[in-house]
Amino acid sequence: MRLEEVREILDAEVLTGENLLSREVTIGCGADLMSDVLAYGKSGSVLLTGLTNNQVVRTAEMADIVAICFVRGKKPDEKTVNMADSQGLLLLKTALPMFESCGRLYKHGLPGVSECGE
């Protein structure tokens, strides 16, 4: 699935990384615990999270995650957005809650981490 589709499905706003919307994402991952993301997240995932501190961006960087979507209308601060920008990471923001965000993407065929061998 292309990130542009993810944006449309989640009715999300782009916070940074507009030029990355044509990239592909292969897996979806929803978590507020970054250690879980580091343990189970796969490279090439989009991460849905309610956490907005800069460690979310760091985690994405370490785990080769291509995009983060903040759910429930949460917005990270400017520093976090800048950090993502300098790393070539797409940041999205949706008003939808976590469960519905994950559900929508899953319904549109984006698989989860257990369905994808690396």
Binding site: L21, M34, D36, A39, Y40, N53, R58, M62
Partner: protein
């Protein structure tokens, strides 16, 4: 939207490159007093459909196949080019950025533009859309080859260095209690490994292990040091601090066991997964620690001969069983 990245590269080149880098310099020209009837032969022989008209080195007009057809239609047998050519010619300067040429082609719809020298005004070349495409492709190819050579050099560094044993050591100082900067050392290490051309799976494992270790230093100590050694076949890391130490190492290794304060948990960490995550990423792990004396964490990640991950299959196995 389509292939946004490579499009950006071409856009970048279009601004960077100059008209003179892509134009054709050996220009076929005609003179004002050349008879129109000779044009057919000139166009055919050189396979062109238009050409600048010059007097000496200076451009006085341009004559195209269209003008030629019009001349045929008018049946003015003996006319000279002078009387049929376009006089107010749109030109480009040799030192203009390519993007000017692109927009001029788009705006005016012509097939070619003569190129003149800004200072002397002399004709120095001709540019067509084909020239632009060919020039861009040449430039992209050169840059691609250069990039490939660099990547090759970086990933074969151990073959190129002549020594009995080679080891690259990278040291990072971690600040304790500083959540703002936490992860920066691991970020720098990851970039370094990428630059060395290590395979992405290995790089990712090292980065995740290092990041979790760095978070532990930030959360529990007043700072420490991460030393990463890259050598043929393995990457090892030593993470040392002089913090409080771990009282019960076995307990600390249990998934979910944590002594992290609430503020760390609020930030998405401290759920007792750190050491387990490090273990998952590592091929070998050892913890040396006692209360009050700090902690020394040793990690090794094996790499294949050509930098391939040594633990691919094991990692896949363990992660599938974790999910049951």
């Amino acid at each position: 939207m389509f292939q946004a990245r490579s499009f950006t590269k071409v856009q970048e080149l279009v601004y960077e490159m100059k008209v003179k880098q892509v134009m054709t310099e050996d220009v076929i020209t005609v003179r004002p007093e050349t008879p129109m009837r000779q044009l057919r032969e000139i166009f055919l022989r050189n396979r062109i459909s238009g050409t600048p008209v010059v007097e000496g080195d200076f451009l006085v007009g341009i004559i195209s196949l269209e003008d030629f057809i019009k001349w045929l239609y008018d049946r003015e047998e003996n006319s000279l080019i002078e009387s049929k050519m376009t006089r107010d010619v749109e030109c480009l300067f040799a030192d203009e950025p390519l993007v000017h040429a692109v927009s001029k082609f788009e705006k005016m719809g012509y097939g070619r533009f003569p190129v003149t020298d800004r200072q002397t005004g002399k004709l120095v070349g001709v540019i067509t859309k084909g020239d632009i495409i060919a020039g861009l492709l040449r430039k992209l190819e050169v840059e691609y080859i250069e990039e490939e050579i660099q990547r090759y050099r970086a990933s074969h560094i151990f073959e190129d260095i002549v020594a009995d044993r080679t080891r690259l050591v990278f040291e990072y100082d971690v600040l304790g209690q500083n959540f703002e900067q936490a992860g920066e050392c691991s970020s720098r290490l990851k970039r370094t490994l990428k630059r060395l051309g290590l395979d992405p799976t290995t790089t990712r494992r090292v980065a995740i292990a290092s990041y979790e270790a760095e978070m532990n230093l930030v959360v529990f100590t007043r700072g420490g040091r991460i030393v990463a050694r890259v050598e043929p076949g393995r990457i090892s890391m030593d993470v040392k601090d002089s913090g409080p130490g771990i009282a019960d190492i076995e307990k600390a290794l249990q998934p979910g066991y944590s002594t992290a304060p609430q503020w760390v948990r609020d930030l998405g960490f401290g759920a007792g997964m750190g050491l387990n995550n490090i273990q998952r990423c590592a091929d070998e792990m050892e913890i040396i620690s006692s209360p009050g004396k700090g902690t020394h964490l040793k990690i090794s990640i094996l790499t294949g001969d050509d930098g391939e991950a040594g633990k691919n299959s094991r990692e896949a196995q363990s992660s599938s069983s974790d999910r049951q």
